[in-house]
Amino acid sequence: MSTRDRRKRDPVNIFALPAVVIVALVTQVPLIVTLILSAIKWIIVRPDLGIRFIGLENYLSVFKDAEFYMVIVNTIVLTVVSLAGCTVLGLALALLLNRKFVGINIARTLMIAPFFVMDAVVGIVWKTLMLHPSFGINGMIAGWLHIKPIDFLGSHSLATIIMLVIWQWTPFFVLVLLSGFESISEEILDSAKVDGAGIWRTIFQIKIPAIASHIEVAVMLGLIFILKVFGIIYVTTSGGPGISSTNLPYLVYRTGFFRWDVGRATAMAVITVILTLVAVTAFFRFTRRKTSEVES
């Protein structure tokens, strides 16, 4: 039997079909529709205006909007600062937790918990129990210190959102980086000790370079997820005050489901897709060049 015949007959190929169909239905088809909708004028709550093709006008009006640039800056700040915070904090905590003592597993269990808590609850617990200026832990500490409580969600909305994202995502970094540190062989560490390398040199010149691929995976997955942060913003600040804590996903949501401006919202969604692809590609380029530098 030639390979061609086998290929045609192999029933295993049909296995892949249902998954292809459903993934295409949920991702590819709506994406194409989004592209089409972004070229029309259609405000659902204004049926009197009708639906008409306007080409690139939605994009032009979005790009003329100062608010839109502020939201893009918010999104970039939120993503970059959160990722940097998660990486540094994650490395420090993973290094600390990478030792043996009685009860280490319980300590690790406490540490990783926030990652499994849903966005809605993260937002609710921090907004009420923790940061509420009068009745939360925030107000209590301010009372002890006889200072005015910090108005976290009012005056520092974006910084607070970043803090919550770091709190939620650092445990994921700890999990991944810790598994990396645990995979470093004892021999390497022993020989470093014999060579007289101090603690800091061991950490920065041996341990961290040894887990480069783990850091890459953590940052890559973190990037994809932190770019689409939505639930925490929805529950805590609703993007405000003003648009100070609005990121791209939240802006698309508001434009689509409050102003019901389908054309404008989908145009923003398309720009979000492009920016995501640019960010991910840039990250891949960066890491690949680094690895080839190490190899050469």
């Binding site: 892949a16 239905l25 991702t27 088809v29 989004t34 690790r108 617990v125 009420t128 692809l277």
Partner: protein, 279 residues
Amino acid sequence: MIDYTGSRARRRTAHYLFVLLIWVICLVYFFPILYMFITSLKHETDVVPPKLFFTPTLENYRTVLLSSDIVSHIVNSAIITLSSMVLCIFLGVPTAYAIVFGKLKKPDSLFFWFLSTTLLPPVAVIIPVFLIFKNLHLLDTRWGMIIMYVGANVPIVIWMVRSFLKDIPAELLEAADIDGATRIRSFFKIVLPLARSGIISSALLVFIFVWNEFFFAINLTYVNASPIPVYMASYMTQEGLFWAKLSAISTVTVLPPLILGWISHKSIVRGLMMGAVKG
């Protein structure tokens, strides 16, 4: 061992100081969740201002679990999450098998196509999905949510299971071929048992993602099919002053993924790393 008796005691102390430091950090990090649990055991009158000493009560849990409204949302969450998880495995594992052992023309490009869909931000699809669901009467239905979650999470299963399948030597399957077993038979007899841990960890990851998902849930459901996160967000705006009850619902809601995460985090990370290294 390079160790001098003189410095041993000092090292001991350093070690215990480190251990103490680690405990303090971990407890501070965990504090918001702990405080949520503690608050859920308080009477509403003890919550504000925060009281350190109080008589614990299970009253809030009784209120929460006797409220038909809350229970129906938890049931929605459970049905949507479990159905999505099972369907993701039923669709994802055979696909991973076809990619690794099938005779597809371009298995790698099919795989990367699946992988690329995970990069797509949900806002890129939400408006068309909303309009399509409205016309097909899928808005605010459990089926609608299940379709969305299966489509969004099947690639994760394919990604993780594929790396486990790649570890199975092809000779094993070829030997089975010679014995006259069909590829479908060897799928059940050889491949499934060997890839078991990968399948389980990807299933748990899908469970955690779907149970916690917020964006699709808030935009595509209102009353009938809305899972628990949607209920929590609306409770927060309507009755946000009842912090003890809010904490009790939050604790109940957080528990399933938290327990699964605690049990399975090691295998989930192993699965993620294998998928990434062999990407």
